[in-house]
């Protein structure tokens, strides 16, 4: 499992803001994601209704999760596949390793999978002498650079073209020095050629799963490159990794979720390859794997059921929340310090690795609400972040200074008359002091604000006072 640095979010964020390359990447890619989603949503008048449908399908499934998982597992085995039930990350890693060992695997190709990142499958295989090869273009370069993905659907979101060229030259040591990487196409062609050999040589292919379908016992992957399909078609053994909340009842349920997935994620109407895998190669088939395994993982998710965080299990990993998040857009994904960044990570990470470690993440939000407004399954992300802040406070994990100030504010907030008197006095004093300049360059106890910008001086009145006056004058209804 990757060592989380979520507890150092503040330091990570400072470093990210000072990183010119990262800032360049964020400025380029952030707005294009938003524009593409907006256009795709505008092209489907039923989109808002489909969000309700998607939410309801997921809620229905979660309420009957045990039933649907059992039905699904029966159907997988009926189709000649095998299900490996794994409560913990350890069990899942060992299940994968044991399948690979039984297959005498030397190399393993991999489709992009966030659950694989969460479990740390690559490190585990490598420690046991098996070479994992990431084949999604973004994951491939991340593996070359020994990094974590910085985005759940665009792993190399933080990189610029120069970084690609640098990493390719460093890792592909047999490249002639005059080899040109002027265009993005040159980079793509190099990766395609290298990885084609790997696809053909691999003994096992590991993919994730966007959905599991109870009705048919299928696993579903959604990709644009085709790497996931090569991974699950060419090797002798296919392993699909899936967490328990990926299940949906029927194909129809799955199609309804797919209608909102690609539009929310990349702004495509539909991804290039949406593939349903059901069991192993059939008797007269000319291709396909001889063995089909699904490693089904809980790893902390069942503990979210029945809590205020159950709604997070609706997530279909589209990344719309991070694409629209002003905090993610400023610090990028790595600052969050673990596998899942952005608003969905701010809710999920404390559930999976503990609020002691990840308490900063639900605090790293302006609560602008954009994430909730674009979520295709309508997860109330700000509300869930607020729940984590409350839990953090209850467990006395919040820093002392914050607690003291909150208590002080709470004292006034519970006494409205006193609150109004105090704010009025403060506004009046600041207004008087700042009358000449109209703003403050520096203020005691407010360096967090004035360090980056001036504080405008109040014009001598509070909002409450003005509101009351306007109401008396009959200018407000």
């Amino acid at each position: 499992m990757h060592i989380a640095t979520s507890s150092a979010f503040k330091e990570n964020a400072h470093r990210a803001i000072a990183d010119a390359g990262l800032q360049k990447a964020l400025a380029r890619s952030g707005p294009s994601f938003i524009a593409r989603r907006t256009a795709a949503v505008a092209g489907l008048p039923e989109f808002e209704q489909l969000r309700d449908t998607a939410r309801d399908i997921k809620n229905h499934t979660l309420a009957n999760l045990d039933f649907y998982l059992e039905t699904w597992a029966t159907n997988v085995e009926r189709a000649g596949g095998k299900v490996h039930w794994c409560s913990t990350a350890d069990e899942a890693r060992d299940a994968v390793l044991s399948i690979c060992r039984t297959a005498n695997a030397r190399t393993v190709t991999k489709g992009k999978s966030m659950i694989s990142e969460e479990l740390g499958i690559n490190d585990h295989l490598e420690r046991h002498g098996i070479t994992p090869i990431e084949t999604d273009l973004g994951e491939y370069i991340i593996q070359l650079r020994h990094e974590l993905p910085s985005h759940i659907i665009a792993p190399a979101f933080h990189l610029n073209k120069e970084d690609w060229e640098y990493s390719f030259r460093k890792s592909h040591t047999d490249l002639p020095p005059d080899r040109v990487f002027r265009e993005r196409r040159d980079i793509l062609t190099e990766a395609r050629t290298r990885l084609r050999e790997k696809f053909l040589a691999a003994d096992v292919g590991i993919t994730g799963a966007n959905f599991l379908i109870a009705e048919t016992g299928s696993s579903v992957i959604v990709t644009n490159e085709g790497n996931g399909d090569l991974t699950q078609t060419l090797p002798r053994v296919h392993i699909a990794l899936a967490s328990i909340e990926k299940i949906v009842p029927t194909i129809e349920d799955c199609m309804s979720l797919l209608r909102v997935l690609a539009r929310s994620a990349t702004g495509q109407d539909f991804s290039v390859y949406t593939t349903f895998s059901t069991g192993a190669r059939r008797p007269d088939d000319l291709d396909g794997p001889d063995e089909y395994h699904v490693v089904l993982v809980d790893n902390g998710r069942s503990a979210m059921l029945g809590t205020e965080f159950q709604e997070m299990l609706r997530c279909i990993r589209c990344a719309a929340c991070m694409n629209h998040c002003p905090v993610y857009g400023t610090v990028g994904g790595h600052a969050y310090g673990w596998v899942y960044p952005g608003p969905m990570g701010a809710v999920l990470t404390p559930s999976l690795i503990g609020v002691q470690q990840a308490g900063h993440l639900p605090n790293a939000s302006t609560f602008c609400g954009k994430c909730e407004s674009v979520c295709p399954v309508k997860i109330p992300l700000p509300k869930l972040m607020r729940h984590w802040r409350e839990r953090e406070f209850e467990r006395h994990l919040t820093p002392h200074a914050v607690r003291t100030n909150l208590a002080l504010w709470g004292y006034f907030a519970r006494r409205p008359a006193l609150y109004r008197l105090a704010t009025r006095a403060a506004a009046w004093t600041l207004g008087l002091l700042g009358r000449k300049q109209g703003r403050f360059h520096k203020l005691p106890f407010a360096s967090g604000w004035t360090g980056g910008r001036d504080l405008p001086a109040p014009e001598g009145d509070t909002f409450f006072a003005r509101y009351a006056r306007e109401q008396r004058a009959g200018r407000l209804r």
């Binding site: 190399a156 979101f157 490159e225 085709g226 390859y273 190669r281 059921l305």
Partner: protein, 225 residues
């Protein structure tokens, strides 16, 4: 048993034991009926307009379409396409009766091999089970007559689709599959356009790991009943 432990943990979270029999029966009924949800209006059109929508969507996703009047016209269409793209005339073809029935001898320069694709194949010819107008998507279920590698390994994939097999929404294509194939084949690919990646600077490039080109030969046979 890890399975029992996991199901118990889930039930503990849901604050209940195994589902009561009547509820399980209800859910089994839902699975058997697999009800449809809201289907977007965009594909609820008369069949000729569905064909137009399909073609527009394939082209929007960087694929191409050639409309031909019948199976007899397919060799000419394939040869013309390959020549226009400056591609070789060696083709690996799905061993499907529809494709085998085509009078290939009219174009002796096309060299056809039946079977699965190998890494060295440049051009493949696949058979579509159905087309979906909603997003310009091809439904390609695996079968001995329709190997999956044909969708993946060649640089250029040509797909034969009969217009009578073109439907509006995904759900209609799945209904055809359920009715005609009985159960789920090992693999069902829904393909929309050629392979691509936007992983480098979030800018689209075609031809990542799958085919760089996707060309649909649409045979205008009778409309579906």
């Amino acid at each position: 048993m890890s399975k029992e432990a996991m199901l118990t943990a889930i039930r503990r979270g849901l604050r209940r034991g195994p589902l009561p029999q009547d509820q399980a029966t209800m859910l089994r009924g839902r699975l058997a009926a697999h009800p449809r949800h809201l289907i977007p209006a965009r594909s609820r059109l008369p069949h000729p307009e569905q064909v137009t929508l399909f073609v527009a969507n394939v082209e929007k996703e960087f694929g191409s379409v050639a409309r031909v009047p019948g199976l007899d016209a397919v060799p000419e269409a394939v040869a013309t396409y390959l020549a226009a793209q400056n591609l070789p005339t060696d083709i690996v073809m799905a061993p499907h009766p529809d494709l085998q029935a085509i009078p290939w001898a009219t174009r002796p320069l096309l060299h056809l091999r039946e079977g699965r694709a190998e890494a060295t194949d440049m051009v493949s010819l696949q058979h579509a089970f159905a087309g979906i107008a909603e997003t310009g998507t091809l439904m390609l279920p695996s079968a001995p007559q329709r190997p999956t590698t044909l969708n993946l390994l060649a640089d250029t994939e040509i797909v034969l689709l009969r217009a009578s097999r073109l439907v509006g929404a995904y759900e209609e294509a799945w209904d055809l599959l359920r009715a005609e194939l009985g159960g789920m084949p090992r693999n069902v690919m829904l393909v929309t356009g050629p392979s691509r990646s936007a992983d480098i600077e979030q800018t689209l490039e075609l031809g990542a790991h799958g085919p760089r080109r996707l060309h649909v030969v649409l045979v205008e046979d009778a409309a579906p009943q």
